[in-house]
C-alpha cells in the first residue's frame, strides 16, 4: 500500500471506524460501553458524511439484530462492544453465523468477568469470541496490536466476512483501542475491498439462498428488496432456506459452514514471526501484549538469548500450522496473554507435547510488561 496521508495521531478506536468506512461500512448500530464507546461516537459523526447510517439502539442485543437486518438489506454493517455487551450479542451473533449474514463485531476487551474493570485492559474474551454462542459454527476472529493495524485489520474483517459470509470478530483490547499512535493511512484507491458474492442469474434458474452453486461452500447472496424473495431463519434449514429436521440436511449444513472456513485457512490465517528461525524459546502472543513480547525479544536478542515471537493476527480459526511449523530448534513456547490462561490451551493442543508450553499470564488490569516477558524467558531458558 502506498502511503499518502500525512502522519497523524490517531486512536485505535478511531482507526477502527476509518478502516470500516474504507472497507465500505455504511451501517453501524451500537450501545455505549467502555472502552469501545469512541467507536460509536466517531461512527455517528462519520457515517452520515459518507451517506451511511448510524443508530444507537436500546441495548446490545438490539444492536446486533439491527446490524444483521441492515446487512440483509445490503449494507456492510458493524457493531462494537466490550465483554458484557459481547455476551449479550451472542445469540444474535450465532444467528448471523447460521444464516450466513456478513457483519463485523468489534470487542474491545476490558478487565474481569461481569462488570469487571471497565477502564482496564484484558484479553479475557478469547474463548468467548470462539465459543460464546451455542452450537457448532465457524467464526473468524482477528486481533490487532497497533493502531495502524486496527485500520488494516478492520478492512480485512469486512473482506473476510463478505467473502465467506461469516461474522468476523475484531478482538481488540483496551490498550489498542485507546492508544493514540502515529499513523499514516494508505491511498484509498490502493485498498482492496471485497464484496459479497452475488448470484449469476444467467446461470441460475431458481435461486436457492443456501445452495452451494460454486462448490466453495459459500452461497451467493441476494439482498432483501432486490426482487428475489427468500426466507431467512435461524432454524436449521435446507438449501431453499426453509426449516428442516432431517439429519442429512442438518449434517450437510453444519459441515458446509465449517468447510467454507476450514478449506481456506491459508487465506484467513495471518501471523507475524520475529526471530523464530533459530529460536529456542518462542513467545506466542497477540493484541497489545504482543508489543511487549516484541520489545522483550529485541532486548534479549542483543544479549544473545535465542528468543523469537509469534504474533497471532488471526486467533480463530486457530493457526495450528504456525505453531507446528516452528523451527526445529524451538523447545519452549511461552504464551503471553492478559488472562488466566485461555489461548494456551489451544497452543498446548497444537504442540501435542512437542514443545514445552508455559503460560505468562496477567489478569490484574495491567498490560504485561517487557520486563515480565524477559524474566519469564530467562527463567524458562535457565530451566531448559
Amino acid at each position: 500500500m502506498t502511503m499518502t496521508s500525512k502522519p497523524r495521531l490517531m486512536q485505535g478506536n478511531e482507526a477502527c471506524v476509518e478502516g470500516a468506512i474504507a472497507a465500505g461500512m455504511r451501517f453501524y448500530a451500537g450501545y455505549p460501553i467502555t472502552p469501545s464507546t469512541e467507536i460509536a461516537e466517531i461512527a455517528a459523526e462519520r457515517l452520515p458524511k459518507v451517506g451511511g447510517k448510524f443508530i444507537q439502539m436500546e441495548d446490545e442485543i438490539a444492536s446486533m439484530g439491527a446490524v444483521i437486518g441492515a446487512s440483509l438489506a445490503g449494507l456492510k454493517a458493524m457493531t462494537a462492544t466490550s465483554g458484557p455487551g459481547f455476551s449479550l450479542k451472542q445469540e444474535n451473533l450465532g444467528f448471523a453465523c447460521l444464516t450466513e449474514v456478513p457483519c463485523v463485531v468489534v470487542d474491545v476487551q476490558r478487565g474481569g468477568p461481569s462488570t469487571g474493570q471497565p477502564t482496564m485492559p484484558a484479553q479475557g474474551d478469547v474463548m468467548q469470541a470462539r465459543w460464546g454462542t451455542h452450537g457448532d459454527h465457524p467464526i473468524i476472529t482477528l486481533s490487532p496490536s497497533y493502531v495502524r493495524e486496527v485500520f488494516d485489520m478492520t478492512i480485512r474483517a469486512f473482506n473476510l466476512s463478505e467473502k465467506y459470509r461469516v461474522p468476523c470478530i475484531l478482538l481488540m483490547d483496551e490498550v489498542v483501542g485507546h492508544l493514540r499512535e502515529r499513523v499514516e493511512l494508505p491511498d484509498p484507491a490502493s485498498i482492496k475491498v471485497i464484496n459479497r458474492k452475488r448470484p449469476d442469474f444467467s446461470k441460475i434458474e431458481q435461486y436457492n439462498p443456501y445452495q452451494d452453486y460454486d462448490g466453495d461452500g459459500v452461497p451467493p447472496m441476494v439482498n432483501f428488496g432486490e426482487g428475489v424473495p427468500y426466507h431467512v431463519t435461524g432454524l436449521i434449514h435446507d438449501i431453499t432456506g426453509f426449516p428442516s429436521t432431517s439429519p442429512a440436511v442438518t449434517e450437510y449444513l453444519i459441515s458446509r459452514l465449517m468447510r467454507k472456513i476450514n478449506d481456506n485457512l491459508d487465506d484467513i490465517i495471518d501471523y507475524e514471526k520475529l526471530y523464530t528461525e533459530d529460536a529456542e524459546t518462542v513467545v506466542v502472543s497477540f493484541g497489545s501484549t504482543a508489543r511487549s513480547a516484541i520489545r522483550a525479544a529485541k532486548i534479549l536478542r542483543k544479549e544473545g538469548e535465542k528468543v523469537g515471537v509469534l504474533r497471532l493476527k488471526t486467533i480463530w480459526p486457530f493457526p495450528h500450522k504456525a505453531i507446528q511449523e516452528l523451527a526445529p530448534t524451538t523447545k519452549n513456547i511461552i504464551v503471553a496473554e492478559m488472562n488466566y490462561g485461555q489461548l494456551i490451551e489451544v497452543v498446548e493442543a497444537s504442540a501435542k507435547g512437542r514443545f514445552n508450553v508455559i503460560g505468562l499470564n496477567k489478569f490484574n488490569g495491567e498490560l504485561i510488561s517487557p520486563d515480565e516477558v524477559i524474566a519469564k524467558v530467562r527463567e524458562v531458558n535457565k530451566n531448559a
Binding site: R26, F27, A29, E45, P48, K49, G51, K53, I55, M57, E58, D59, I61, A62, S63, M64, G65, A66, V67, I68, G69, A70, S71, L72, A73, G74, L75, A77, E91, N92, F95, F224, G225, E226, G227, P229, Y230, H231, V232, T233, G234, L235, F242, P243
Partner: protein
Amino acid sequence: MRKNLEKYFRIDKLPHIWCPGCGHGIITGAVVRAIDNLKLDKDKICIVSGIGCSSRAPGYLNFNTLHTTHGRALAFATGLKLANPDLKVIVLTGDGDCTAIGGNHFIHACRRNIDITTVVFNNSIYGMTSGQYSPMTPAGAYATTAPYGNIDRNFDLCKLAQASGATYVARGTVYHVPQLIKIIEKALQHKGFSVVETVSICPTYFGRKNKMGSPVKMMEMLRDNSVTVKAAEKMSREELANKIVIGEFYEENAPEYTEEYKKIIQKAQGEE
C-alpha cells in the same frame, strides 16, 4: 385459497403448523388481504418475526421473510428499514415475543416512530412452548407455569404502545375480520410506527387450561366481550373490566425516523 392471494403465499409450505381453530391463520389471512387491497409492491415487502407460533407466519408468505431470534424481530426490522427505507417492513410477533423478551425493543421502536407496521398476534399464552403465561395473560387465568392462577397483571398493549410513542395504535380480533383488515390497511398506509394488537385464540393451550371449550366457544367469547372504542367511552371502569376494546385508539402525524435520518445525512454532508 382465493386465486389472487396465492402469489402472496408459499403454497408448497401449506398447510401450516398451527392447531385446528388457531386464530393465527386468520390474522395471517387478514395481513395478506390488506396487502392485496393496497396493491403494495410485493418485492419491497419484508416480513420479520421473532420466535413462537405467530412468528412462523413469515415462512408461509412469499415476500422477503426473516425469522429472527426470540423477541428481537423489531431490532432486526429497524436495521432493515433504516438501511433501506424503500422497504416496506412488517413485523409479525406474538404477545410473549413482543411484550416479554422483546418488550424493550417494542417500546423503543414506538419511541423512534420508525416506519414499521407491527401486528401482534395476542393469544395470551406461549403456544410454541406449550402454554406458559405471558405478560398478556389476564390475571387469574391458568397456564402451565401458573397452575394456581396467574397473579401477574397484564399489559394493555395499546396503552403501552401509545405511551411509548407509536403513532398509529389499534386493536382488532380474529372474530371481527373485516374490521381487522381495515385497520391493518390503515396501519400499513400510516407513515410511522403502527401497532395493531390482534386478539387471537389458542384453543389448544390457553383454551384447554382455562376450560374455554372449542375454538367456536372461544370465538363466541371474543364476539360477546368486544366493545368498540366509541362504546367503551361511555362505559365505566367496572363495566369494562373483562371487555376487549376494539378499534382505533390513536393516530398522529409525527416525524418518522428514516426521514429524520435523511436530514441528518444532509446536515452532515452540508458541513463538509
